[in-house]
Amino acid sequence: MSLPQPVIEFLNNNAATLGVPQVAVDLDLFKSGALDSFALVDFVTVLEEHCGIRVPDAEVIPANFRTIEDIDRYVSSRRLES
């Protein structure tokens, strides 16, 4: 897992605010309510700031950010492309 701590903290804090106590790496962030569409927009900004990647607008889709594992995979792919 290569996601920086502030990224994980954002997810945990957002989940706690929305009443989801524990964010496991394979938890479906949308189904569990840990992320909603508005929070995802903020989350992508956090991801860009702390992972040194640029997420194209067309790739801001839930499929890329469904679980922490998906996010990690997506960040790695963006780093490879840049």
């Binding site: 569409s37 508005f38 927009v41 903020d42 607008d57 067309a58 801001v60 889709i61």
Partner: protein
């Protein structure tokens, strides 16, 4: 040569429809509607009020003489008829001269497209005073059932009119810049499919109703409106701190909050919001918000206004205006 918004007007139908009146039919509670949209009530036209009639009233409310208008642009998704559009109805009802009348159908970006076209017309010398009418009677197309609840709760009817001229006196708004963009691969995420040639002969009843992938709309609208604002600011060598007012398309109060956060606005009260009392009036919403702001008397000479919007297509953009 410059172009100016020299007059604005708006109109909301008399009938007010509260969340309380709608909620049960939509399988929601009034608070659920408010929490997810920021809307408490909206205005709906009576069955006899057609879209061009709303536009006529808004244009009358600009107090610009019909004789002075030499081009009419009408932006709507809910035209009086399939063909022709609503602009000829306004020309006839208001006794405008036999001027060019053009309908545009860029949905919630109609104000921006209308302003860009009007600005081009007056700066090129093809017109002197362009009326941009923006109106919707969306209530006629809404399905009041739980299956359509999260879409039908949003929309209201209303109209706005902006007059764009080649000369602007104190209080007018100079149109400094308009940026527009489109990505057509989201065509199925927001809109109404039928009537249209793609579904000719095979349209289902729901194809005639608004369809919206809310998640896709929120994600793309949040990002694209922000980038449009940044594009306009960058190419005019301005920062967000130079902007006094944000006058966005009134889609959803939560989206306006997201936009303010993304723009890093220090004072969120500078985001003009009328959505609580109007709902999402689509084509008309930005014009209604702008007319409300001008009517408040809060605008001061030299202030910049940033006006972002996002619409079916997807298409999006932002305008920059300055108070003369």
């Amino acid at each position: 040569m410059s172009s100016f918004i020299t007059a604005t007007g708006s109109y909301l139908p008399a009938r007010v429809v509260s969340n309380e009146e709608l909620a049960e039919k939509l399988g929601l509670t009034p608070e659920q509607i408010f929490k997810s949209s920021g809307i408490r009530r909206r205005h709906w036209a009576s069955p006899r009020e057609i879209t061009s009639a709303l536009g006529c009233t808004a244009l009358r409310n600009t107090n610009v003489s019909a004789e002075d208008i030499d081009y009419l642009i009408f932006g709507t998704m809910t035209s009086d008829r399939f063909i022709p559009g609503s602009a000829p109805g306004v020309q006839a009802a208001l006794n405008l001269r036999e001027v060019p009348c053009l309908d545009i159908r860029q949905a919630c970006c109609n104000t921006l497209y209308g302003l860009q076209l009007a600005s081009a017309l007056v700066t090129s010398g093809l017109a002197t005073n362009v009326a941009v009418c923006l109106a919707e009677v969306q209530s006629a197309f809404l399905r009041l059932s739980p299956q359509a609840g999260t879409t039908s709760m949003l929309f209201g009817d209303g109209a706005a009119a902006l007059v764009v001229s080649s000369q602007g006196e104190a209080g007018a708004l100079e149109i400094v810049d308009v940026h527009l963009a489109t990505d057509g691969k989201y065509v199925d995420d927001l809109g109404i499919r039928a009537p249209g040639s793609e579904f000719n002969g095979r349209a289902e009843p729901q194809d005639y109703e608004p369809r919206m992938n809310g998640q896709s709309v929120i994600l793309q609208a949040s990002r694209r409106m922000l980038s449009a604002c940044q594009t306009v600011l960058d190419r005019n060598s301005l920062s967000i701190d130079d902007v006094s007012w944000i006058v966005p398309h009134q889609a959803n109060a939560n989206l306006l909050t997201q936009l303010a956060r993304g723009l890093k606005l220090k004072d969120v009260s500078r985001v003009v919001s009328v959505i609580e009392n109007t709902g999402n009036t689509s084509s008309a919403s930005m014009g209604i918000a702008l007319d409300t702001l001008r009517g408040s008397g809060d605008l001061k000479q030299g202030e910049f206004l940033l006006m972002p919007a996002f619409a079916a297509g997807f298409t999006w953009g932002a305008a920059l205006c300055r108070v003369v």
